[in-house]
């Protein structure tokens, strides 16, 4: 960046230009640098709940009295909601942060019931794709084996709550784009869960249409289209062909929708 007018910051020592108002992840993805994420989506305002995109900002190295170099870690923050600031140094691909992200993925893997071999979303599931990319070999923690429901009441859409990671993309899509508010959240903490906008609680009693954004935004295998499954053969699916981190620009914010 030679243009003195353009703002820029450093991501893992690489200079990243940004526009005023962009968050760190928005600028990074636009510039072709991948930062892992799940609840961030190019068409929505950043949300900041999954914390997969956590980075460290402005770590410092100091020299102690006896000449030792000591690294003082910078503050940790979700890069999707943290505004980019000119000149700041952001770390993303450090062993500490990669380990943190693996732990977060493992937390999601044990919280829900994620049986990839029987999931229609396998091969194009973002949780799975991200786990592959981070090299998550196991869920590590004891499984919750939480008992969750399946809702097949809607003629075109099936809900399998076993796989919900509570990213709220469907909630946001239905409220912000479809203007229908079909989904919301209830409970809190460990009992937080997705609900449908009907007295019966059933999806079939809402006005969701298969063409709604909310019906097509789920990053995992919760919101599924009936009569469609396993359509792309093993080996030719999205993450069979390329890792999730390939071509980061595909996740760059769609300006007219985010702003």
């Amino acid at each position: 960046m030679t243009d003195g007018q353009t703002n820029s910051f450093f991501l893992d020592d690489e200079e990243i230009p940004f526009e005023e108002g962009q968050t760190i992840i928005q600028a990074a993805l636009t510039a072709g640098k991948y930062i892992p994420h799940l609840c961030y989506h190019p068409e929505f305002k950043p949300h900041g709940s999954c914390k997969l995109c956590t980075v460290r900002i402005d770590s410092r190295t100091i020299t102690t009295e006896d000449g030792q170099s000591v690294k003082i870690p910078g503050r940790a923050a979700a890069s999707c909601t943290t505004p980019a600031v000119a000149g700041q140094h952001v770390e993303s691909e450090t062993p500490e942060l990669l380990d943190l992200r693996r732990t977060l993925v493992q937390m999601l893997l044990v919280e829900g019931n994620h049986y990839c071999p029987s999931c229609e979303k396998s091969g194009k599931c973002l949780l799975q794709g991200l786990a592959y990319d981070l090299g998550v070999m196991d869920p590590h923690f004891p499984q919750y084996f939480s008992k969750r429901e399946v809702d097949a009441s809607h003629p075109d859409i099936l809900l399998d709550f076993n796989r919900c990671i509570l990213c709220e993309l469907c909630v946001r899509a239905s409220a912000e784009m479809d203007k229908k508010n079909v989904f919301s959240l209830s409970g809190r903490g460990a009992t937080k869960h997705l609900i449908c906008n009907s007295e019966s609680g059933r999806l079939g009693d809402t006005n969701l249409a298969a063409t709604d954004k909310a019906a097509n935004v789920c990053p995992v295998g919760v919101i599924l289209h009936k009569r469609h499954g396993f359509e792309v053969p093993y080996g030719q699916r999205r993450f069979d062909k390329a890792p999730i981190s390939a071509d980061p620009v595909q996740y760059a914010p769609v300006k007219e929708k985010v702003r």
Partner: protein
């Protein structure tokens, strides 16, 4: 063991399938002709390949497919842990319970009652000391014993198994990388 033996001792490998479908073992055979290279490096102890019934006390690697669904699985797994230096959970079921664990959303008593209901003749659940008792829930291996390495896949491909084992036998922490790491 002979004290003067060369250092290139073959590593002893034991394998078994618990609550699995043997698909991972089948996939193991998909390493094809590379199995000839493998047997230069290892010898098989307890395994479906050898039909040896119990682990020798000096196994180096234990490779286990399938999760833990009954009392016998627990005993076999504990035997492996006791006798193997390194224990590997192979495949989706070993790692998170897999398809058998999908029964966990139901009460095992209800499942048995439904499975063994005979029209007009009530419920007769087989009850023989020879039949291992089922656990209330199916569990992954690492909830029962400490597992050292995990090789995901349903099944992991022959190439993934080969890469994993060659890394391990060479003393490297196995890294699969894109295309080889799979949960399905």
């Amino acid at each position: 063991m002979n004290a003067a033996a060369p250092t290139k001792r073959k590593l002893k490998v034991a394998t078994t399938s618990l609550a699995g479908c043997f698909g991972c073992h089948m996939s193991f055979l998909d390493i094809d002709e590379r199995i000839l290279d493998l047997v230069e490096l290892v010898e098989f102890d307890r395994s479906p390949i050898t039909d040896i019934k119990h682990c020798s006390p000096d196994c180096d690697l234990g490779i286990i497919e399938g999760g833990v669904c009954n009392a016998e699985n627990v005993h076999v797994l504990q035997e492996f842990r006791k006798n193997c230096k390194i224990l590997i959970a192979m495949g989706a079921c070993a790692i998170n319970g897999g398809l058998p664990a999908q029964r966990n959303s139901l009460d095992i008593r209800d499942i048995l009652a439904a499975v063994y209901a005979r029209p007009g003749r009530g419920v007769h659940i087989p009850n023989d000391p020879e039949i291992p008792l089922l656990l209330n829930e199916v569990h992954p291996l690492h909830e029962v014993v400490k597992i050292d390495y995990f090789l995901p896949g349903c099944p992991p491909s022959g190439d993934a198994i080969w890469k994993f084992l060659t890394d391990l036998l060479a003393g490297r922490t196995p890294i699969l990388g894109h295309g080889l790491i799979h949960y399905d």
